[in-house]
Structures are given as structure tokens and as C-alpha cells.
Subunit: 319 residues, 2 copies
């Protein structure tokens, strides 16, 4: 059925049904002017993320299910990056008028899949027509005991990342290559680990945050995001090329293509792994990739050669 | 300066400075992964609203200042419609790459103007490039003592509105007519009350909500919004044509054009006045326009003629 037949209020009714789930602390959910939710701590953590067709995603590369999943994932990652626990999600959609209602239902299926893993309630949002592409804008509300900012890193701290870097950026390359000739909406996704990391990232919280001095999620690329910590904490950083975790899949794919995998690991965005700093003797399963310094920002290779680094990665508007 | 020169992070820095203001209960504001804010009651009221260029606004009719003002106003109206007090606002923007940085600064000036009136803190959001038009998506968080839903109306309750209806819809007609030949971005707004109501709506809270049984804000039109109350409360409604408040400006403008002003008052959207129900003897400065019934939905004219009404007004996707 076309959205023009379902209508805005018909769609809202359908989505309300689809979003039934964990509503224990929700006194008003989808369908009123605003939602009313219980906040169990006196501080709420709130993040908003927007995904725009043609900028953040291409409907030739992703299914609606995957897109819904990723849409919540990118918001979730920001809550985890503050040391928070996610609770409530609001979904605003700008939808092209020619869409089928089932596209949006499929998007919500992906969204619900990830929300159930983390017991997140979908409590509201906005649904309207878009004259151009699909626009997703989400707000995720959570709570936190200890809030971890970008600004607490100290000289001498170790620098850690929670997983391999560059997989998502290489996954995107693969998708672009494979799908160049495919039709919009006829897309079935390839299932390699690299493309999966791009299409359905899986943010995870840091289990033990005591002692952690600063944290953020790697969304724009390691160098640009590490630079945010340096700027906000007024420190420098040294990272070691051979300590940066690179997956076997990325290493092999880059080798075949004659490319340096580190190009993807250092500057590729959307890994949604956590980057954090903590005292050097900190016990963690995460990878230690360097140390916070007083001022210098350096990359050191296995032969000890030093290179200054700049904030290179993804930045909107910059060409 | 063009946004392509300022860059995403340069813009965020500028906006962060512009948004300094009431930050008493904000422990983390703009510039981290998420905001951290104090919630003084155990229930938070949350609403999201999206404005899309070409659907909700036309840059030939509005200045960026007015647009920023209205963007917060439409969110504010939803918080007031729940009986809430607004506290924190998150702003997500999808911005065409060719925009000047000053356009966004002007938009934030309008936003700040209204936020200061209500002591709302701007605490975060997202800023990204849009491939097509300008997209604004906001989330406003508030608190409430007593939450007023759409679902509490009872047969016998009076139906009330807080101000004149139809002004905004007529204002839009005037803008469309006057500006047909004007260039984008060269627009200076006409200052009549009707166009002002459309461009810079001024939502106000209901001062005394004790006894109020249901409430919403009139955004899509009186009939369609009253119908929401009927559906959610499982009741009917009778309204009297000659009780509906029509401004002198609307009456005069409609007369000149040979149109029925009630067409605008009944079906025109975006008035952002409150529509509420309360016991018939309820003391209020608001206009009483009818009564809640068990089932029938009727409009009665001054001669006593009854007409059934349908949910007519603005609905996205419907043609």
C-alpha cells in the first residue's frame, strides 16, 4: 500500500502497534502531543542524530531493515560514549510521498530488533512528508551514574579502543563497488563482516568505567575523534601504528586491492567503537594504542619514525 | 562566509557560543557525544518536531530568524499541550552545502529569542549536510506536575480554545500571494497580525490546568485536532459556529476576498492555540466553543442547523 493511501495518522497507528514492547516506565507513548517517561536518576543523558539520504546512506546499498537498525545504533553509540544506559527513543521521519507503507514498517522492524536487545522503549517522534529524500532524525534519552566527557584526559593516560578500526569504511567501499549497477530497492545485502559492520554497527557499552578519564565513540575516524579528546582535554597524544587493531578481513581485502589498511583504520569513520583514556595500568579487554601527552600529536610507526597528525576524517560541509 | 569554509566543527563552535544562556542545570552541553541535564521531577515530557523545506516552510516567505523562532515554537506548543514546563532543547539541522554560515547564525538568533522568553537551554543536537533542502528537527524536554493527555474528555465537558483560529492559515495565503514574484533570500516580511501569526506563532501555557480533562494544541486544524480528542477519549463533540473566535483581521481579509472566514478557522492549521475540555462550569479566560457528547460529532450554525463533521485539515501524505 502507498503512504498516500495510509495517510499520516494511519501510519502512526500502525507504528504505534509495532512499537509495543517495554513500556513499563512510559506513562504517555506514541500518539499524544508529547511522550511522558520516568527518569530514574536526576540526570538524563540526551543525544540526537540525523541521517539524510544521499549524505549518510544510499538506498541502493542498504535495506530498510538495516537502515532502521543503524539509525538507532548511531544514537546508542553516543549514549554509551557518555557511560550512559539507553532508555527512550524518539523517531522523526521525513518520508518521500511515493514510498510504500511497508518500507517504513520494515525500517521499524530493524529499529525494534536493536531496541529489544537493549530494552529501549520507542516513545514518540514526528512523521511528515519530505519533498526530496528520506530523512531520519532520532533522539535517545538515557541515564548515567558517572558521566564521562571528552575533556578529562591527562598526560600519561593510556589511549584505548574497544574493537578493530576501519572495517566500516572498507565495507562502504565494497558496497559502492558491488552495487553500482543495481537498482534502487532491489538490493540484497552481501553478508561479509566488513559490509555488515557498515550497515548494522553493533555499539557496546564499556563494562567498567571506573578510572576512565575521557571517552567518545569513533564516528568520524580515529584521528579526527582523538583530536576532539585532545582539544577538549587540552592535551596531546601519541599513537603507535602497529598497536592499532586491524581485522583479518580488512587486512586481506586491503592487500588484494594494494591499499594500506591503516588508511581505513586511521581516517575511516563509522566504526562506532569506543575510544577512551585511562591511567596506564588500567585493566581492560580493550586495545591500548598509545598515550596521552602534554602537547604533541604524533603517530609512531614500527621503526620509530614519528609523524605529526592532523584531524583528518569525515567532516560535514568541508570539501 | 560559506559553510564549506566554516566546516562542521567550526559551525558547532560558533553555535555553542551563541547558545550560552541558562545553563544552570546543564552539566554537559553542546559539543560532547550527548548532553547531560538535570530533570527535577521523576517524569519527563518529551516531544520531537521536524520542519522540512518545501513542506513546512518556504524560504521565499520566511526569514531565517522567523524560521528559528517558529521551529522552537512548534515544539514548545506540544509541551504546553501536555501541561508541561519546557526545559531543554536539542537542535538537529540538515543544511544545504551552499548555505552561508550567517543563515544558520540568524536562525539561531530567532531560536534564542524565544528560548530566552521561557528560560529554555539549548543543549545539543546534530549538524550535517543535506543534499536537498534545509531540514530542522528538534526535541524539547520538559517536566510536568499533572500530565494532560488527549484521552480524558467526558460527555458533558465544555470544549475551549485559548485564542482566535484561522489567522495563521490566512497569513500563509497572504504570504503566498505577496511573494510569488520575490527572490529567495531577499525576503522582508510583511508585518500584519495574520502573517505574523503564521511566521512567528507565540504558544502560551494554560495557567490553571486543574480540572482540565484533555488537551492538545491546534496544529493541523480545529476539526482534525478535535477529532483526535474524540478518538482518544472515545466521545463525540458538538461545536457552535458562532462561538468560534475569529479575529477582526481574519474577518475583514476574508470579506474582501469573498471567502468564509470559518473555512480558515475550522480547517486551517498552525494556530498553535490550545484546545481543551473541562467541566461545563469551568472558570477560564478561554473561549467556550461547544460540548463533548457521547458519540455524535456535529457543527451547529446560528440557525440551529446541524452538520456532521469529519476530521478535515492537514494530514501528511494524504492528497
Amino acid at each position: 500500500m502507498l503512504l498516500s493511501k495510509t495517510g499520516e495518522f494511519g501510519l502512526i497507528k500502525k507504528l504505534k502497534k509495532q512499537c509495543s514492547g517495554n513500556m513499563k516506565d512510559v506513562s504517555v507513548g506514541i500518539g499524544d502531543d508529547a511522550a511522558a517517561v520516568r527518569i530514574k536518576k536526576d540526570t538524563a543523558i540526551v543525544t540526537s542524530d540525523m541521517l539524510i539520504e544521499g549524505v549518510h546512506f544510499d538506498l541502493a546499498f542498504t535495506t530498510f531493515f538495516q537502515l532502521g537498525y543503524k539509525f538507532l545504533a548511531v544514537n546508542l553509540s553516543d549514549i554509551f560514549a557518555m557511560g550512559g544506559k539507553p532508555e527512550y527513543f524518539l523517531v522523526s521521519l521525513g518520508i518521500p510521498g511515493h514510498f510504500k507503507t511497508s518500507y517504513i514498517e520494515e525500517l521499524y522492524e530493524g529499529l525494534m530488533k536493536l531496541s529489544k536487545k537493549h530494552a529501549i522503549s520507542i516513545v514518540g517522534g514526528d512523521t511528515c512528508r519530505s519533498k526530496s529524500g528520506l530523512v531520519l532524525s532520532g533522539t535517545l534519552i538515557g541515564t548515567a551514574g558517572k558521566i564521562i566527557k571528552r575533556s578529562g584526559a591527562k598526560a600519561g593516560d593510556g589511549i584505548y579502543v574497544t574493537g578493530t578500526l576501519g572495517d566500516s569504511a572498507m565495507g562502504l567501499q565494497l558496497l559502492k563497488k558491488r552495487n553500482r549497477k543495481m537498482n534502487k530497492f532491489s538490493f540484497t545485502s552481501p553478508s561479509s563482516m566488513l559490509t555488515k559492520k557498515h550497515l548494522m554497527p553493533e555499539p557496546k557499552p564499556l563494562k567498567n568505567t571506573s578510572g576512565v578519564t575521557s571517552m567518545l565513540d569513533i564516528s568520524d575516524g580515529l584521528l579526527i575523534d582523538l583530536n576532539h579528546i585532545c582539544e577538549e582535554s587540552n592535551v596531546g597524544a601519541v599513537i603507535y601504528k602497529d598497536k592499532i587493531p586491524v581485522s583479518r578481513e580488512l587486512a586481506e581485502t586491503a592487500k588484494k586491492a594494494g591499499l594500506d589498511p591503516l588508511r581505513f583504520s586511521l581516517k575511516g569513520g563509522e566504526d562506532y567503537e569506543l575510544l577512551f583514556t585511562a591511567p596506564p595500568n588500567y585493566k581492560t579487554a580493550a586495545y591500548k594504542i598509545g598515550e596521552i601527552t602534554k602537547k604533541d600529536r604524533l603517530i609512531i610507526d614500527k621503526n620509530g619514525r614519528e609523524t605529526r597528525f592532523k584531524a583528518e576524517g569525515y567532516e560535514h560541509f568541508k570539501r
